[in-house]
Structure formats: C-alpha cells, structure tokens
Symmetry: C2
Amino acid sequence: MGGCKVTIHITWHDLTIQKEDRNRLNGHRGAVVWLTGLSGSGKSTIANALDYQLYQRNIRSYVLDGDNIRHGLNKDLGFSEKDRVENIRRIGEVAKLFVDSGQIVVTAFISPFQRDRDIVRTLFSEEEFYEVYVKCPLETCEARDPKGLYEKARSGEIKQFTGIDSPYEAPEEPELVVATDKLTVEESTRKIIRYLSEREIIRL
Amino acid sequence: MGGCKVTIHITWHDLTIQKEDRNRLNGHRGAVVWLTGLSGSGKSTIANALDYQLYQRNIRSYVLDGDNIRHGLNKDLGFSEKDRVENIRRIGEVAKLFVDSGQIVVTAFISPFQRDRDIVRTLFSEEEFYEVYVKCPLETCEARDPKGLYEKARSGEIKQFTGIDSPYEAPEEPELVVATDKLTVEESTRKIIRYLSEREIIRL
C-alpha cells in the first residue's frame, strides 16, 4: 500500500473492458483533436504530421479525413446542408468510438459551422474534446490551392464552396489556435503535442 | 543483414503512418471478428469475453455492438429493410477504420443476411475478415430470451423479428463456427483466439 495507486475496473461479475482499462494499457488517454479550418489551411498535413509524431512516442492515434471517410462511411452523402450536417454528426460518432477504444483521434474536416462542431462536442467529456482552429487567411489558402478547388469555386464549377460562396464560422472558443501562415508544420504539431501533454492526455 | 527483417514504411517524403506501422507498434495485426447469429445466441457475451481475453494479452481490441452503435452512429436508422442494410454497411465501414488503425474489432450484430455480410467482406483483405457463426438452435435462444424480445415477437409486439417472422440466413462458408449450446463462453473464446493465432493475427 505504498504511493502507487492502481485502479482495477475488472471484477468477477463485470468482465467488460472499459475505457480506463484501455488507457492504462496504452499509457495515455483517448481524446479528439478536432481540426477545423478553410480548405488549404493545412488540416490534413498537420493531422498526418501529428499522427506521425504521436506514433514515434508509442501513442495510439488515428486520422479521420476526407480520404477515409468520404469514400467509405459517408459515401452516401452529398454536399446539401442536410448531408453536411449528417457528415459531421457521423464523424463525431466514429470519433467517440475511437476515444472509447483508447485512441487519440485527429479529425481533418473543414467543419465550417459552429453549431455542428458544438453538437459533436456534446458527445464527449471536457477532457476528451479539443477544437483546434487551423487558422490561415483566405488569400493564403487560395494561393496554395493544393487541390485546385478554389479555382473551380471561383469559376463556378463548384458551388457552395466554403470561404467563397459558403460561410466559414471560425471557432468562438477553440481550445487551441494554430496559425499556419506563421508556424511551420513542425511548430504547429509541437504546439498541439505540448497542449495534449499539459492537459495530461499524453506524457512527454 | 542477419535473420531479422525490419520493414520501415516511413521516408522523408512520406510521413504518413500506415497500417503496417501500427501493427508493428501493437505487436499484432488488425482484423474483424464478425459474429453473426440469432438474438440470444451469445454474440455480445462472447464479444466481451473475447475482448477481455485479448486485453489480458495486451492486444488492442474493441467491441462494436448495439449498445455503442444503435444509440450513436446509427441512431437515425430504424428497422426497415433499407435501414437494416445501411446499418450493416456503416458497421462494416467503421470496422474498416478500426482495422486500419491496427485494432482487432469484434462485431456483435445479428446481421441475418448473407448478402449484407458479403458486402462487408469485400471491404477487407482475406486475412482481415473472419465471419464467425455463433450457432445456437432457435428453441435454445428463445428459452434464454435475455432481453425478453422473443416473447414480444411471439405476441406480435415486435414485428419482423429474426427467427420468428424474418429469416436468419446462416453463413454459407464461415471461417469459424461456435456452437454456444455445446461450448461454454470460455471454450468459445478460446476457440476464436486459437484461430486468430493460427491465422497469425496474434501471437500466443
């Protein structure tokens, strides 16, 4: 009975593995790093770099982004307002399953509306959900235009494109802001990792 | 260049963590153990017992079942044929994300139709998807009736209940059959774990 406190959540009558058990096995807690920002702001780049940095620290993390969601779980959804709401709802619910499984899940979606992000937030405890604003001026995002989407939006080929003819609502109270026109990818990920450490999600 | 072969999937230009990297970190591969069977056959019990046994071996696993899916991701779905198909499709897609993240995911859903299970199977490689038939005679399941659902189905309170007024299609070629009227929960999970070991998903 020294200074080491060990909580065992398993009894003979309750053989269900709980989130706390998984966190103990992993040596870190589960959480959502919800990246939000304009197209071209660097969400996917930061998400993958963060995933890489966490992996190097033996932390279980996973990225949810357009690549693995839009062509899979949400391939039945289009870009109507109803479908965009449902898109974010499902991503939130999947993120919840990943957190329950003990992982740190990094989401990289524009998720332009505060209301939708707030709904996702309600699925989690305060220590589990971190809204990170990947901040970058529209002009810079448009100059980068990594997928050529702004050009298509300007020419009218794509309608209702966030920042052009559909609004982007910047987070009102994000846990963290990462200004990608000022910080490098490495500085951005380091900032997020430091924050996760301060919140005792991970130990450095 | 001795007998130890190490594959590194990371280059300076490709900092994306791949499934193989996660498998190396975990010391096991990701896979789906897709339990299918009648209500009351013991799917959830086996799923949780299996999850417990895997956890004890430091294996990252997670259970998808009615409790965490029907009230979350799929809470917009009812029990029409269209919704039942969509229910299974989404579970398959979520399972794919979990396998991609390196975990062993155990699903516990009646999933009565071969066609729907076959569609899910196409999402995975041959080494990743294991259909396990949790086999138990209808009379035994009905006698167990852990949730009182058979009673409600017989009285007509629940319509289209699998085994009563909706068919259950037993797997045509399951990877494994677990007969829960003959095996204990411990014997059932041991059989699945042995199989996962033989298929080199895990090492015992």
